[in-house]
């Protein structure tokens, strides 16, 4: 590896009170796919921010094509040929695809933009990425998450790029889109571009990766591992210091109460989903499986009243809910942990206490005055019961890891006394260790008699956690039955081929 494209050595980055990177080494060869693995908080995000010039390291060296360089800012990194595609895509919704691709380095003559050239350039780049179906004239807003990712990559390629950093690109994609992304990545490496690929999904790393670097607690614990041959157990041991992969808790017994607490019938929103009906009993976990865009999240939001059903009804304890009213749903005992935790559930700038009690505030108030001692006591109980870390409930929610934030959202609904929990992608952005904790927690809630309606894009998660599942394809039910009577390949077959027979 004398011809390394990039070599980072002994990188240290400190934030007030936290040493986010504590001597990280990373070496990337030209035209390879180098996977970066590590739990949340291991320092992956900080490392790529250093690499993209967004953060300045406090110590350590960066060598690019054999020369020491300083990545003083994102433009400097860009000039060298390092492009970063962030999890939160940095595209401007109101501009067209072509305008986004050339944003910041518009093709222009004497201040007038050369639109035709930009269009042509964009067509070439999109074709090079294997997505000629995306028109450069479309506004980015109408593209799917996958489409936006392609535009981000096209933007990177519009510079003379030698290294593309991808931060969890697959998190927003379904399986087919991931497969297409991998084709694109292979094309790129074929053209000599190196890729640093970050993902939580080990199976993806096996498919696409060449070598793996593992981070733990801000340090490199292993580097240059062969991506395809290194045993899973070994990787997980390196990441966690533990040697077991997450496991699903055993299913509960037959619910003691046979009557359904949540009933959904004939629920329809044209264009999203049609004639959806199911029942969930107390103590039961009911899973919705399907591809992104199959209507899973929309169904959940409609049950919760955040969207209004065009037809059909939802009832809780035999009483029908007013359609399109979150208020009614919450008073009936429903709680929801939405897909986008940060933008839809959390008050990031506020304390864990305030986040926990926001839905049950009137419980802690007398004549509208919040009884802070009672509130804090209840919050402490939740923090302890759910094992939320750090243990300090006065911390701002944004300082918590993904898994702990998710527990805060669950705790919020436990405080309202919810008997029906709607969980949309409960483990998204949650690291491997914390995942099993969330699984165990969900099962514990069910054992306590809560009815859980679960949506996940990871089929093993739905099957492993649920008692019964409903499989969706393009908004329609293609299977409903016990989770242990169907396996992953059958589900995939159903959602992709869609033969209900």
């Amino acid at each position: 590896m004398t011809t390394a494209l990039l070599r980072m050595h002994g990188i240290v980055k400190e934030f007030p009170g936290v040493r986010a990177l504590d001597g990280v080494d990373l070496e990337v060869a030209p035209a390879e796919v180098h996977c970066l693995l590590g739990q949340n908080g291991a320092g992956k995000s900080t490392l790529i921010k250093v690499l993209s010039g967004a953060h300045q390291p406090d110590d350590g060296t960066v060598t690019w094509q054999g020369e020491d360089v300083r990545l003083a800012n994102p433009i400097a990194a860009m000039r060298l040929g390092i492009a970063t595609i962030y999890q939160e895509l940095d595209l401007v919704d109101g501009l067209t695809v072509a305008e986004n691709i050339y944003l910041g380095h518009e093709l222009s003559t004497a201040g007038l933009s050369r639109r035709a050239d930009a269009q042509r350039g964009a067509v070439d780049l999109l074709a090079r990425l294997g997505h000629p179906e995306i028109s450069p004239r479309w506004e980015v807003e109408r593209l799917s998450a996958a489409g936006k990712q392609i535009v981000s990559m096209a933007r990177a390629l519009s510079h003379d790029v030698k290294l593309i950093v991808m931060d969890e690109p697959s998190a927003v994609l379904d399986q087919e889109e991931v497969a297409r992304l991998f084709r694109v990545i292979r094309d790129l490496t074929g053209q000599g571009v190196a890729v640093v690929y970050i993902s939580h999904r080990l199976e993806e790393i096996r498919q696409i990766g060449d070598r793996v670097t593992v981070l733990k607690d801000g340090r490199t614990v292993a580097t240059g591992l062969p991506a395809k041959e290194t045993p899973t157990a070994e990787i997980i041991r390196l990441m966690t210091g533990r040697s077991i992969e997450y496991v699903f808790p055993p299913r509960g017994n037959e619910p003691a109460v046979p009557d359904a607490i949540l009933e959904v019938s004939g629920l329809t929103r044209p264009g999203e989903f049609y004639d959806i009906g199911f029942e969930v009993r107390p103590g039961e976990v009911f899973g919705l499986a399907g591809l992104v865009g199959s209507g899973r999240s929309e169904i959940l939001e409609t049950v919760f009243g955040a969207r209004k059903a065009a037809a059909g009804w939802v009832s809780v304890n035999g009483k029908r809910l007013r359609a399109g009213s979150v208020d009614a749903a919450v008073s009936a005992g429903l709680g929801m942990a939405p897909e986008e935790r940060k933008s839809q559930a959390l008050l990031l700038e506020e304390s864990v206490v305030n986040n926990l009690t926001v839905a049950s505030l009137s419980r802690f108030a007398r004549a509208s005055f919040v009884q802070r001692a009672e509130e804090l006591k209840a919050a402490r109980e939740q923090v302890e019961a759910l094992d939320i870390r750090p243990v300090d409930p006065t911390r701002e929610a944004r300082t918590l890891s993904g898994g702990n934030q998710q527990k805060v959202v669950l705790g919020r609904w436990l405080l309202t006394g919810s008997r029906v929990l709607l969980l949309d992608e409960p483990t998204r952005g949650v690291d491997v260790g914390a995942r099993s904790e969330i699984y165990a927690l969900i099962r514990r809630l069910a054992d306590d008699g809560v009815a859980v309606l679960l949506v996940s894009s990871e089929v093993p998660e739905v099957l492993g956690l649920s008692d019964r599942v409903l499989v969706l394809r393009e908004g329609r039910q293609v299977y409903q039955g016990p989770a242990d009577e169907i396996d992953e390949s059958r589900v995939l077959d159903l959602v992709m081929e869609g033969s209900a027979a």
């Binding site: 496991v247 208020d327 990031l348 700038e349 870390r389 750090p390």
Partner: protein, 356 residues
């Protein structure tokens, strides 16, 4: 069932060393900053910059204008002037924390003052009780606030646009009603009461103090205040947590309209008139005071103490300038510069306390 799950959850609990590491990290993160954090976290500490600015202003005032500035009379004048805009600014603080903005406050003050001083209202007040006039101003102010709130929450209009329309319409209506004439208040009891003093402090100042105190309690101790912060901080999350965001928005603008009504009463007493020109550019002064006070224009964060200090700084500044015979144009330029400096300072403080 629980026996079944126990071994599983035990297996996934991180080993003790990791536990310790996390706790240690938390301790380390907390310890070095803790004393500083506690001071900076308290409302006085967070507003330390503002307190210092106010003190500097006072020193400048004493140096340049001597006893003319430092006299009790002048202090009461500053406070009396601060009271009217102060009450509006307290209301504005709630709307801005709740993620909104209101450009129509000055116009609402004008309309309320005109409505409460029409011949008909004054006659009714003389026949019954002088409080009728105050009541009229409060009802008109609140009514305008309700309309603003409904347009924004249920009409889905941008707050900027809805209140811009209210600004034009309310002042226009005030002109129509008053025929652009200044309406003198002839109800003596009204003027006497509000221009009076209690324990040597003007009633107007008492009102400002009371409104500030109630505002503080409302923001920091009640469910309403907590929900205001939630709605402004993340309205989607607030809605999905079962908060009636639309209703809350209407309440916020109504509260501000009510505050404008109070301000109208105070202004009527101070000037002994009602006029369609009352409250001119109050929207700018109020927003400036709130922003100087450290409230985020994007919502979700702000303090009443900061706003009060912002108002006092602004009013003292005007007073110092006037005592030094600076013309109003120079004052306006200076105000602009102060706003910019204050916001730059606040941002730096926020950045220091903020990111990890």
């Amino acid at each position: 069932m629980s026996e079944q799950t126990t071994p599983q959850s035990a297996a996934v609990t991180p080993p003790p060393d990791e536990h310790r590491r996390v706790e240690k990290a938390a301790e380390e993160a907390g310890r070095p900053a803790s004393a500083l954090t506690r001071v900076m976290g308290s409302s006085v500490g967070r507003n330390l910059g503002l307190v210092i600015a106010l003190l500097i202003l006072i020193v400048v005032g004493v140096i340049t204008a001597g006893d003319r500035f430092a006299s009790t009379d002048n202090m009461l004048t500053i406070l009396r002037l601060a009271s009217v805009i102060g009450v509006v600014s307290i209301g504005m603080t709630f709307v801005i924390i709740g993620g909104g903005i209101d450009l129509s406050v000055g116009a609402i003050v004008a309309l309320s003052s005109v409505w409460a001083t029409t011949l008909a209202t004054q006659t009714m007040a003389e026949d019954t009780h002088w409080l009728i006039m105050a009541f009229a101003a409060l009802v008109v102010g609140s009514g305008c606030g309700v309309v603003n709130g409904l347009l924004i929450a249920y009409g889905r209009m941008a707050p900027f646009i809805a209140t811009l329309a209210m600004l034009a319409a309310a002042r226009g209506l005030a002109e129509i009603i008053s025929d652009r004439k200044t309406q003198i208040i002839s109800v003596r009891e009204f003027v006497d009461f509000f221009n009076g003093s209690l324990l040597g402090i003007p009633v107007l100042v008492w009102i400002f103090a009371l409104v500030s105190a109630m505002g503080w309690v409302l923001l920091n101790r009640t469910t309403f205040g907590r929900r205001t912060v939630a709605v402004g901080g993340n309205s989607v999350a607030a809605r999905l947590a079962g908060i009636a965001v639309k209703r809350h928005t209407v309440l916020l603008y109504t509260l501000l309209g009510f505050a404008c009504g109070i301000a109208a009463v105070m202004l009527m007493a101070r000037t002994t008139t009602g006029s369609s020109t009352h409250g001119f550019l109050y929207e700018l002064d109020a927003i400036a005071a709130v922003v100087i006070g450290g409230t985020l224009l994007t919502g979700g964060r702000g303090t009443i103490v900061g706003t009060v200090l912002g108002v006092l700084i602004f009013t003292s500044l005007t007073n110092v300038f006037t005592l030094n015979n600076l013309d109003t144009s120079t004052q306006a330029v200076a105000k602009g510069v102060i706003i910019v400096l204050a916001v730059l300072l606040q941002q730096r403080v926020a950045a220091r306390n903020g990111s990890p």
